[in-house]
Point group: C2
């Protein structure tokens, strides 16, 4: 049978109150009693019933993470690394992690509602913010604490960590321009996604800074998968005057683009330069290795998680909003323009 405080009380001859306090290390219990209670507790193999605790304390020691999954072949290294970061930090701070996977859309908000209404979690980690983010509205309205990985449209204010995608893409464009490239294309995800918006903005500003004109026909929209990188790159390469460099807004699409170029016999890094964004582990081992921007996803996951827990505990945050500068990692997928 399951051991409860009552059993320990009976065994030690103390009251339930005292047992509870002894186990929680209150000062008003003598050290002799504390010792006795602890000994008996471990003899009987006592473990507190977490739901009774939560019912009483009205908190959950659990944080929620809802992962938007795009289709059944969902397999974005982005999330596994971030998840590891959030999960490990949560565990080390004594919090459980309740994960829900939902396709973006109507049911996604439902997942938030069911977690908030049932008071299943103390707060949320929000990932991949969107331009009009119903999740942000929902959480702000309900007053649930949350920390986002990613910003939102200007005027909404909430704690976040984000990478400076604009800065990142500017450095990519500078890099490509310094290699002599003038026709630089971009494969960007829908600007609905805030990070895509910032990255694309960086691409355009970068072009301006190096004195190149943005050409709308060289900016295509992809959906973050290799497949779409492949398809959009094919469209770019079919243009009468194709680009000599393609800056993809994430590594997966860059791989798709590389694949498309190679199918046409182009040598990536020589005939054409292709860059990514994220520096997923695969980037180092692709052929050719991918020039990309490094985002420390594991650390970001940890940061976001820790900020959230501070918030839940009612502590003030050192920094409400953090913007990280991604670092350009130059590998062989980008090279001098062949003249």
């Amino acid at each position: 049978m399951v051991v409860t405080l009552k059993d320990i009380a009976k065994e030690t001859g103390k009251s339930i109150t005292t047992v509870s306090r002894a186990l929680n290390d209150y000062d008003e219990v003598s050290s002799a009693t504390k010792e006795l209670v602890h000994r008996v507790a471990s003899e009987l193999g006592y473990t507190p019933n977490i739901f009774a605790q939560r019912l009483q304390k009205q908190n959950t020691d659990t944080i929620g993470l809802i992962i938007p999954t795009y289709g059944p072949r969902f397999s974005d290294p982005f999330f596994s690394e971030l998840l590891a970061g959030v999960g490990n930090r949560a565990a080390s701070l004594g919090y459980d992690l309740l994960v829900s996977t939902r396709a973006p859309g109507d049911y996604e908000i439902e997942a938030y509602c069911s977690m908030t209404q049932g008071r299943r979690v103390d707060g949320f980690v929000l990932v991949r913010t969107r331009r009009k983010d119903a999740r942000v509205e929902c959480l702000q309205k309900s007053g649930y604490p949350f920390v986002a990985f990613g910003r939102a449209e200007e005027n909404i204010n909430f704690p976040f960590v984000d990478e400076d995608g604009t800065y990142g893409m500017k450095t990519v464009v500078e890099h490509l321009a310094s290699l002599g490239h003038q026709r630089i294309a971009c494969i960007a995800p829908s600007s609905e996604l805030m990070f895509a918006h910032y990255r694309l903005q960086g691409f355009i500003e970068g072009l301006a800074e190096v004195g190149l004109e943005a050409d709308d026909s060289l900016i295509l929209i992809g959906d973050l998968t290799q497949r779409s990188g492949y398809e959009q790159a094919n469209k770019l390469l079919d243009l009468p005057s194709p680009p000599t460099a393609i800056a993809a807004c994430n590594d997966l699409m860059a791989f798709g683009a590389i694949s498309a170029a190679q199918e046409r016999g182009l040598v990536v890094g020589k005939d054409i330069s292709i860059t990514g964004f994220d520096n997923i582990p695969m980037a180092e081992y692709s052929h050719p290795p991918l020039t990309t921007l490094h985002q420390p996803l594991y650390q970001i996951g940890g940061m976001v998680c820790e900020m959230l827990i501070h918030l839940i505990r009612g502590e003030s945050l050192e920094r409400e909003q953090t913007l990280l500068k991604p670092e350009l990692i130059i590998r062989q997928s980008s090279g001098l323009l062949r003249s």
Copy 2:
């Protein structure tokens, strides 16, 4: 303030008992009362306190998944796809998913203990079974329901879904042999991991079936990452008489091996054949596209999750143990032996 049954009772003039029963659709409540209660409940915005329910019912409607994370750059597409499968199925069956990420080792068992002892979950999904799997022992001893993705050493009996890795690697070896390869190497993870054990066994049996002798110097151990595929492939290629084909036991190591071969100027698929196992999305877009074995991870995740929930509900399983045949996907990383 939070609305409770008591509030509804007061508002409707009924007792708490009747309100509870009305909401749970017991027959012993008149339909008029049911209607009244439901109306008032939704007017007041009632949502049950989940912890009170769980305390009373002594169950959690939550399943646990503990992901072994190898290091901070943990980023295995294997897990994101599996997680999506488990998570989506759990949600559709009304279960929450509690995820814990732990490095394999001592703390991993602790994670199981804290979930079982605190009775935080009704059961577990166990992934990547190991030869002497302390987790299996722990769960069997505690009597917690669980379903594994992967088998264990012969005599232990528990419900699982697994892919037939032995069969899979045999088909790979047959494929390579049919292309004329005679010196075929294998990069396998530690045989501590059951799936690695079966895959390696398939490799060896496969060699025997096509009349080739296994050469121990051609079997190296990796740790599932690209880096280790790269390192081990380098060792193989440095041999006085290097292999003409390398069968890696997962896709990530295959990519590492491809990278190593390409660094030496070898054309993969011509000068050397390299194969993987898993068919992660990247396999289609690598250069060259990877010959590998397809595992339907998303579906497997769903199956495992559903079996577990049946088990938790005390229903009998249609099949306790399922072995799936992986399908060989031939792409360009394997080709005819150059003579």
